[in-house]
């Protein structure tokens, strides 16, 4: 993985010093509430329902075991013993004290981490495919390019006060596992017919109040121009994006109002006048970055069948929580953070430390955060999966539900977030209580349930096969249900099935949707495809047929 040099270290240390000074000035009254707000937000610090919330960047989801131990230690000493992994591969702490945040940042800096630009109207953490470098279908490892973008976007002097936040996702495989179509900019590594590698650039995707799928701005961008092209996109957005209305300030609104052709024309014109200047990505820099992401020292192994003769629980876990690896004899192993009764994406300090140890023992010392709020050990020998499972299982980290109904993506909701209209964690709990029969869950197959506590859509509900959105109805928590959304390369936005339902009725509503699917599906048809084939109507009719049993 990427390792800091003197420049990186100096930069994060100077940032800690700057924020320490800003916090001091705020606490002794030199900075007003509003002035400090703009500054702290650019360091990932929100003031939330109960306390400040600190969001720490995990660039493209990659962590060393040492970094994960530091995250655990911060959770224990400055928080209440846990952290929340987010859909954008970050971690959030819900209970730090403002005066202690500079100390936390200093501890992060010591392990080459930071909270720079994890909130505020600036370029956020660059996210990527959690299977980068190990996926069999990959064209090229996107992580060197993610790091190039991370560095370019960090403390960018021109683009630190944008109209609104700006999120970039990079993928190196035709299967989009980074939800890049719902990002402000999606960068896809593509191979042209002549074999040349370059980038397809998309813009204008996003969720929130106005969900939109991103559109292609340029089909093929030569590699050395990646940063100058991003600079052109950002410059057009910074100049022309709306600043008069917060809900219309994202780049997706600009792209939609100009139309993709006019937006493209402006970007290309701007790019035309800067493309031959800086910043250019030199081949030497690409090679330097690649050097940080060389494959680890894999052993030469044969494919094996480790589940033979083992118990059924292991079988289920192996089937659902491990996946293909490009190297024979290796698997990727998902560490499920979706145990029933636990807020999706939460991990305790002890769990984080255990996972760090397991990463050292089984995964070359690296851990990844997935955008579905699980962790991943990317390089596990097939033969060792059984002993790994036993340890994970004992720690409550082996819930065999990856990619199924109960692998719910979920924002912190009303319990923690000052923006939320409704709770999401307890709805996840209700769903888990209702659907506890794994035979049924497995029979349903691949199913993406995503839930957000408000229109800001941190839980990506628009692109859930089943999406659940919390709404406030006369002071009560109600939930609007969508179906047919998808986040991958065939991304689509879900359709609202009808009036929102009460919290207690959410599980019954899901049960009815799934009953229609089970009755109507073709052999091997996914829920998503059944919805796409039949449309919303039969689902809607069933859900609203009679009052749902409370």
């Amino acid at each position: 993985m990427y390792r800091y040099d003197a420049i990186d270290r100096t930069l994060v240390n100077e940032r800690v010093a700057q924020f320490r000074d800003q916090t001091r000035r705020y606490l002794n009254g030199e900075l007003s509430e509003d002035e400090f707000r703009h500054l702290r937000l650019r360091n990932g610090l929100y003031i939330q329902r109960h306390a400040p919330m600190l969001r720490v960047a995990i660039p493209y989801g990659l962590l060393s075991s040492a970094q994960l131990r530091t995250l655990a230690s911060i959770a224990r000493r400055y928080d209440r013993g846990y952290g929340h992994f987010t859909t954008r591969q970050n971690i959030q702490y819900n209970w730090p004290k403002l005066a202690e945040v500079p100390e936390i940042l200093a501890e992060l800096a010591a392990v080459e981490m930071h909270a720079i630009q994890t909130s505020g109207n600036c370029i956020r953490n660059t996210t990527s495919d959690h299977l980068a470098g190990v996926a069999p279908d990959e064209i090229e490892d996107p992580r060197p390019w993610c790091e190039i973008i991370r560095q370019w976007s960090t403390l960018h002097p021109e683009f630190s006060y944008l109209p609104r936040k700006f999120k970039i996702a990079v993928t190196g495989s035709p299967r989009d596992r980074a939800a890049s179509l719902v990002h402000d900019v999606g960068v896809h590594i593509v191979r042209r017919a002549d074999g040349e590698l370059g980038f397809e650039i998309l813009a204008g995707g996003g969720l929130g109040r106005t969900p939109i799928i991103g559109q292609v701005v340029r089909e093929f961008l030569p590699r050395e121009h990646l940063l100058s092209y991003l600079e052109a996109v950002l410059r057009i957005y910074n100049r022309e994006g709306r600043r008069d209305n917060l809900t219309k300030a994202r780049i997706k609104i600009l792209v939609r109002s100009l139309g993709i052709e006019e937006f493209r024309r402006r970007v290309e014109a701007e790019w035309g006048s800067i493309r031959d200047g800086a910043p250019r990505v030199t081949q030497a820099e690409v090679e330097r970055m690649r050097g940080f992401f060389e494959p680890p020292a894999y052993r030469r192994l044969q494919e094996s069948e480790p589940a033979v003769g083992k118990d059924a629980a292991f079988h289920a876990w192996y089937r659902y929580n491990t996946g293909e690896h490009k190297m024979p004899g290796y698997r990727v192993v998902y560490v499920s953070l979706k145990k029933a009764g636990v807020a999706p994406g939460d991990a305790t300090d002890a769990q984080m430390e255990l996972i760090a140890d397991l990463a050292d023992g089984y995964g070359f010392g690296e851990v990844r955060v997935t955008h579905t709020q699980n962790l991943l050990l990317a390089d596990v020998e097939q033969e060792k999966t059984y002993e790994l499972w036993r340890t994970l299982n004992a720690a409550g980290l082996a819930t065999p539900n990856i990619g199924t109904l109960t692998d719910i993506i979920c924002c912190p909701g009303l319990d923690f977030c000052s923006l939320a209209n409704a709770g999401s964690i307890d709805v996840a709990r209700l769903i888990n209580e209702r659907f506890d029969d794994y035979d049924y869950i497995y029979d349903l197959g691949e199913l993406d349930v995503k839930m957000s506590g408000c229109m800001n859509a941190c839980g990506h509900h628009h692109v859930g096969n089943i999406g659940i959105l919390g709404v406030d109805k006369g002071g009560e928590e109600w939930y609007q249900i969508t179906i047919g959304g998808a986040a991958g390369a065939d991304a689509s936005l879900g359709t609202v099935i009808g009036p929102s339902v009460a919290k207690a009725d959410v599980p019954e509503t899901l049960a009815r949707l799934l009953a229609v699917y089970v009755e109507q599906r073709h052999p091997d048809e996914r829920f998503l495809d059944t919805v796409r084939r039949l449309g919303v109507k039969p689902f809607k009719e069933r859900v609203y047929a009679a009052p749902a049993a409370a």
Binding site: I7, L11, D34, W152, L155, H156, P157, S160, P163
Partner: protein, 161 residues
């Protein structure tokens, strides 16, 4: 009380006056808003003396580009703490239109913005008077940078050119 500002890293008394501020010498250095300038460009050019124009966030640098040879000062206004268009205006003035005069940031300018502003080509800053001394060091908050920008006179180490 004369206005003080931070210019080229040093505290200075502003020799410029805005139109409508107390009269100075007939040919003293005069700052206009873009609208004042645009409404009677010929009259201002005939006046003699140095001229400056402050752009609002929505003004396109291109509007002013043909006039830059007549101007000794161009400013960008930041009416609130979240305004960011001036950063692009600064870079375009310096890099695309090669403006070499005084580039001034006005409005909601605090020391916390100075590093980014300086990297976008600004060399003078209208800060709250009480903050001027303490802000002098803020243009060098960081000694390193990842990306090239407009680093006239800034001592930063760049990873990439």
């Amino acid at each position: 009380m004369p206005r003080r500002l931070l210019r080229n890293g040093e505290v200075a008394v502003d020799e410029w006056r805005y139109l409508g501020e107390a009269e100075g010498a007939a040919d003293s250095a005069l700052i206009l808003t873009f609208d004042q300038w645009a409404s009677d460009r010929e009259q201002w050019l005939a006046r003699g003396g140095r001229l400056g124009v402050i752009l609002g966030p929505a003004h396109r640098v291109e509007f002013l580009a043909p006039d830059l040879p007549h101007l000794d000062l161009v400013g960008a206004d930041f009416p609130n703490p979240s305004e960011g268009r001036g950063y692009t205006q600064g870079r375009l003035l310096r890099e695309r239109w090669k403006f070499a005069g005084e580039l001034r940031a006005t409005g909601h300018v605090r020391r916390d913005h100075l590093f980014f502003l300086a990297r976008c080509g600004f060399n003078s800053f209208e800060l709250p008077d009480s903050e001027i001394e303490s802000a002098a060091g803020a243009v060098s908050t960081f000694s390193v940078c990842y990306q090239p920008a407009n680093d006239l006179g800034l001592q930063v180490k760049l990873r990439h050119r």
